[in-house]
């Protein structure tokens, strides 16, 4: 099972790295917001896998908080972009 957790975590980390490249490249602010959203999702997934691997339930509230934060952050940022572009 340890091998399985290792493989899963490696895949999620690889996905997070690819997302990070998109986050750094942009080219528009919207792409960065989207990449951040996906990145937080991958952090949630990795936390869940790590929790399962160590059979440790202390990180469960972290999952809930991250899910909430990702939503509020992305929506707020997208709204700000929309307002800023509308000003021009």
């Amino acid at each position: 099972m340890t091998l399985l957790y290792g493989i899963t975590l490696a895949m999620i980390v690889a996905a997070a790295l690819l997302t990070l490249v998109r986050l750094l490249r942009g080219p528009r602010a919207l792409d960065r917001i989207m990449a951040l959203d996906v990145l937080v999702t991958m952090v949630i997934a990795a936390t869940a896998v790590g929790m399962t691997a160590r059979d440790d339930t202390t990180a469960v509230p972290v999952l809930v908080v991250l899910a909430l934060l990702a939503f509020i952050g992305s929506v707020t940022a997208a709204h700000l972009i929309e307002k800023r572009e509308g000003m021009r």
């Binding site: 099972m1 399985l4 895949m11 528009r28 959203d37 991958m42 929506v75």
Partner: protein, 156 residues
């Protein structure tokens, strides 16, 4: 029993991680904001969902409701975020128009007389651009005719 649970978890974890990886790959490779949105949604919903279910299978049963809550919340919020990002991208030229086969919103906006921001600087889209300019020229001709009539009315 444990073996069965382990196998279920293994399948769910590997499936979820594959979806995350494929979604990230699409996010990196796809050409414009709209298609990246499509790839990102795969990782955000099904990828995370499979991994959370896999974790719920493996962990103690009283933890399952919380993980289900996270999954449910993610399922509810991912479309909202995508919709807002998509709308903003549409309004701020975030999509490559020459990749579109059909743009029903633009047709509708044109029909209702709202200004449509069409980009005409894509050389690949010459044909459709020509059509578009013809359409707008027709519309302008009609407007000009109306204006002329209005002017005549005013002169009388």
């Amino acid at each position: 029993m444990t073996v069965v649970l382990d196998v279920i978890t293994a399948v769910l974890f590997l499936g979820g991680a594959s979806f995350c990886l494929l979604g990230a790959l699409g996010l990196l490779r796809f050409p414009d904001t709209m298609s990246r949105l499509h790839a990102a949604a795969k990782a955000q919903t099904l990828g995370l969902l499979l991994i959370l279910v896999g974790a719920a299978v493996q962990m103690s049963p009283n933890l399952a409701p919380v993980l289900l809550l996270v999954a449910l919340f993610q399922l509810l919020t991912a479309p909202i975020t995508s919709q807002i990002i998509g709308r903003t991208a549409y309004r701020t030229h975030g999509l490559e128009r020459h990749l579109l086969l059909r743009d029903e919103l633009a047709d509708r906006l044109e029909h209702e007389g709202s200004p449509v921001h069409r980009r005409t600087d894509h050389s690949d889209r010459r044909e459709r651009d020509d059509e578009d300019t013809e359409d707008t020229e027709d519309a302008e001709d009609a407007e000009d005719a109306e204006d002329a009539e209005d002017a005549e009315d005013a002169e009388r």
